[in-house]
């Protein structure tokens, strides 16, 4: 399996959440992930993209950026916005913490990303934006051959 790379940019609109999931899943499926791995990847894409739309841009105009790389059969995923940023990343990562309880947010987004991925790195600056970088090691990656 050779390395491979894609970048996606789209309007920060809720109907693009499913589009983002489908696109990353289509790219990643060349590695023959298990159904479980694919569902986990779709879920973390959904979490990070939803955060960019709701929290980053507060449902105003904006662009969401996704980068996905296949490196030695593993997946690196970067999801980025140029929105308002996170003041306290440690607090944001706490399970059940949400700044928008009135919107029925569960505060589980980052916890799910941490659970479903092998590495996560959050870089955020208020007024500049947020960048979430995640890595997932696939179980059968040494078997993948195309």
């Amino acid at each position: 399996m050779q390395n491979n790379h894609m970048e996606l940019k789209f309007s920060a609109r809720s109907q693009n959440e499913s589009f983002a999931r489908v696109t990353v899943a289509a790219f990643v499926s060349q590695l023959d992930p298990t159904v479980e791995e694919l569902t986990e990847i779709k879920t973390v894409v959904s979490e990070a993209v939803t955060n960019a739309i709701i929290h980053g841009y507060e449902e105003q105009e904006g662009q969401v950026y996704i980068e996905c790389s296949i490196i030695d059969g593993n997946i690196e995923l970067i999801i980025e916005d140029q929105g308002r940023g996170i003041e306290n990343v440690d607090e944001a990562r706490e399970p059940l913490y949400t700044s928008k309880p009135e919107m029925e947010r569960s505060g589980m987004g980052f916890t799910i990303m941490e659970n479903f991925m092998d590495e996560i790195e959050i870089v955020s600056r208020t007024g500049v934006g947020t960048r979430v970088r995640m890595v997932k090691f696939l179980k059968n990656h040494s078997l993948a051959k195309h």
């Binding site: 809720s14 959440e17 879920t43 959904s46 739309i53 589980m108 987004g109």
Partner: protein, 116 residues
């Protein structure tokens, strides 16, 4: 639209069956529809059936917890059924399994909420 919502009433219980994909984009539909049906039917109890659901993320957790709060605030009971492994993992992570009961089928869930 990528989410379908079907509702039914059995005795004192509103049953909500979801199929398709439940995310932030579609969660609002679920919230409005379930609130509307609870208001209209005045049923205290609620069952959510996830049999047809192909995808759910934490926006789904939020909408379920929101309904749980309303139902229990009114003295009702809430149960979930037909939950696949992916959903179960999300429910577990969020601690929801400690407060909302999950059943294999709708009729098993009904035998729980149905008893006044």
């Amino acid at each position: 639209m990528s989410l379908q919502i079907e509702t039914a009433v059995s005795g004192d219980t509103l049953i909500v069956r979801l199929s398709g994909e439940l995310d932030h984009h579609t969660a609002e539909l679920v919230r409005e529809r379930v609130e509307g049906e609870l208001d209209r039917n005045r049923t205290p109890h609620l069952i959510m059936n996830f049999e047809g659901l192909g995808f759910m993320d934490s926006s789904g957790l939020g909408v379920i917890l929101g309904r749980y709060k309303r139902v229990t605030a009114g003295g009702g009971r809430m149960a979930l059924c037909s939950v696949n492994d992916q959903l179960l993992k999300l429910f577990e992570m969020s601690g929801m399994l400690k407060i909302i009961r999950i059943f294999g089928t709708e009729s098993m869930a009904l035998s729980e909420t149905g008893v006044a």
